[in-house]
Symmetry: C2
Subunit: 228 residues, 2 copies
Amino acid sequence: MASQRSVEMRTNVLHRHDEVAASLRARFERTGTHVVNMVSSPGTGKTTLLTQMLTTMVERRLGVAALVGDCATDNDARRIAESGAPVRQIVTEGLCHLEVSMIEQHLDGWDLAGIEFLFIENVGNLVCPSSFDLGETTRMVLLSVTEGEDKPLKYPQMFHSSELAVITKTDLAAPCEFDRAAALANIDAVHPGLAVFETSKRDSASIDRLVDYIVAERRRSCEPLPTS
Amino acid sequence: MASQRSVEMRTNVLHRHDEVAASLRARFERTGTHVVNMVSSPGTGKTTLLTQMLTTMVERRLGVAALVGDCATDNDARRIAESGAPVRQIVTEGLCHLEVSMIEQHLDGWDLAGIEFLFIENVGNLVCPSSFDLGETTRMVLLSVTEGEDKPLKYPQMFHSSELAVITKTDLAAPCEFDRAAALANIDAVHPGLAVFETSKRDSASIDRLVDYIVAERRRSCEPLPTS
């Protein structure tokens, strides 16, 4: 369907998008802000997981904030605000993904120097957000046990472009007849060596382990190496 | 981000797409082919439901066929073929939705006159496929009980543009603490009066009821009114 001219145009638009993302990433690096872009299908539990992680991180007196993307409604921002962390809703009005210009715009007035961890909850969509760099440090893809073990194979670009995978809703694994070994093998087939965590909203230790990992990731990426 | 020129181009491309869809719809009407475009998030059980519906319809000696869209792999077509119905896989190679040109192309060599019911399983994506008319008679949106009751409010365009909704995986309602009344109220808020069915792969009667409805829909749309 697409003409040569429209393909070139799209390439130019994406190229400009990537330039803005690179500039925003440099800004995050200067302020020591570790940015996690959460991507998944609708209904994998992004909002629940994010609320639990932020609650834990606020208790640990870490500097956290969140931006939350949805096609419509500000329901998620209101849920996440219960964690005590600052949160802003980005309503995309039907657009299927977040773009870096929306991130820049919604950071306005926030002092990034005080934000050690910024979480971005993307629109629920396992395809399109994979093409849009938001300047994040880590792309974190969620897969719920209710979705089926085959999703990494069917949506490879998202799993391939992520630095971290989280299998959610593990408390539902038995009724869903979830084949854990198959899911892990499929993730590894698409992205060999990808770090995988498993969480359940009913198991606070599983949330703690994921938070520990993200905190350690920031330490690795932001702190200067010790001088001998 | 988009320039005036690229917006005009996109509008032209969509306009051309709609013309092809209208022409394909007229062709389906001439052959009496009732076309169901199945849309949903990844992992709501489209493939399982479709396999069960086709198996039932083959047993009833109805003329059925299916086209199955995925970003990658032909796993779904292989599963669906177990129903005994003719099925073809459309691999979109990363594209987030099916387009009508892909449907036309994959019908090549099939005698539509013998296909009373054509099912199209779209790419798992609750946003983008809502903008692409495939010439279908009925757009059928699936919502699984594992996804949460709020999805109609958060992805209103898909529910608004559908003629039929199916709540799937009802056998998991209890462990998921699914609030059925809230889900039905949210669907009705976005699309008042939308027909809603509820299915479980473990309840064959629920599949029969949905098949009965689709068969009756074809009768209403395809058969001439009785003369008195």
